[in-house]
Symmetry: C2
Subunit: 168 residues, 2 copies
């Protein structure tokens, strides 16, 4: 299997994984393509490599820039915008994790707290049981979030992981 085929396989697999995790396939593929590319790529190059439309390429690139996991790269003497991927896995994985946590988990935690507040006074057996259920989920989620915050925000996140691995 030649290099091009391997890269293609990587891009496909990455797109598949993305869609299983609620990330748009094109977005995942654009990241994969940039990860596999040695030089910066223009929108046109991306369109051609993935056979997607200009609109799709543009929106996927916007989203990845927004996530902070790809960068613009200026090529002197060229008016086109070029893009490169953040290649440090730890860096971009942390960014994706932080972003999803902020946008998706934190709002849910907020709702859980609201529900707890609304239910706290209810003295019926049913009310108490529901309160307990929500509380359990909220506490659990909170623990996970606190821990991941610490790992993700730490300058030593990667080192921490390795130590954990040794200890456990």
């Amino acid at each position: 299997m030649d290099l091009e085929a391997s890269k293609q396989k990587f891009i496909e697999t990455w797109g598949l994984l993305g869609s299983e995790w609620g990330i748009n396939r094109s977005v995942a593929q654009v990241q994969a393509l940039l990860l596999t590319s040695i030089e910066p790529l223009s929108t046109d190059a991306i369109m051609e490599a993935l056979t997607i439309s200009r609109g799709n390429a543009n929106m996927s690139l916007r989203q990845l820039l927004d996530y902070g996991i790809i960068y613009k790269k200026v090529v002197p003497g060229d008016r086109k915008e070029y893009f490169i991927a953040e290649k440090d896995v730890w860096k971009w994985a942390v960014k994706v994790a932080q972003m999803r946590k902020e946008r998706e988990i934190d709002p849910v935690r907020k709702v859980l707290s609201e529900i707890k507040a609304d239910t706290k006074k209810n003295g019926t057996a049913e009310g108490k049981e529901f309160y307990k259920t929500v509380n359990d989920i909220e506490v659990f989620t909170g623990q996970l979030c606190d821990l991941s915050d610490k790992v993700l925000n730490s300058q030593r996140g990667e080192l921490l992981l390795k130590i954990l691995k040794m200890v456990m």
Copy 2:
């Protein structure tokens, strides 16, 4: 806000979170409904509570049973099947995490290894760089998986989390 409204809010929020993470909304809502219910519920009760069809209710229940996060409950003197949710958050969160890892992450790791094997011999600068990229992702994913396996499979997973929280 009365208890029913709070439960409704919980079910809605849970469904929303589910769809953001690639879990079918109905499936997430059925789990939420069972989590909030004191008694076991029949398929008909679920259909009515969530206003979904019999087919949808049945398939959602199958999937949750398959995940191992809800159980069948026999009510003596009744031919209907009743269902209850696993209420121990840690237990079902672990099951969901394990299942998704197995079905979605492990196959990707396998592909990454294949790609590495296919690329190892390629001596060009481009080949080497691609190999490094894939290797970095594979190593990182492997570390995360190993660590989560240890936490998830540990009998003391929950305790471990608490200790981690104290240490960090």
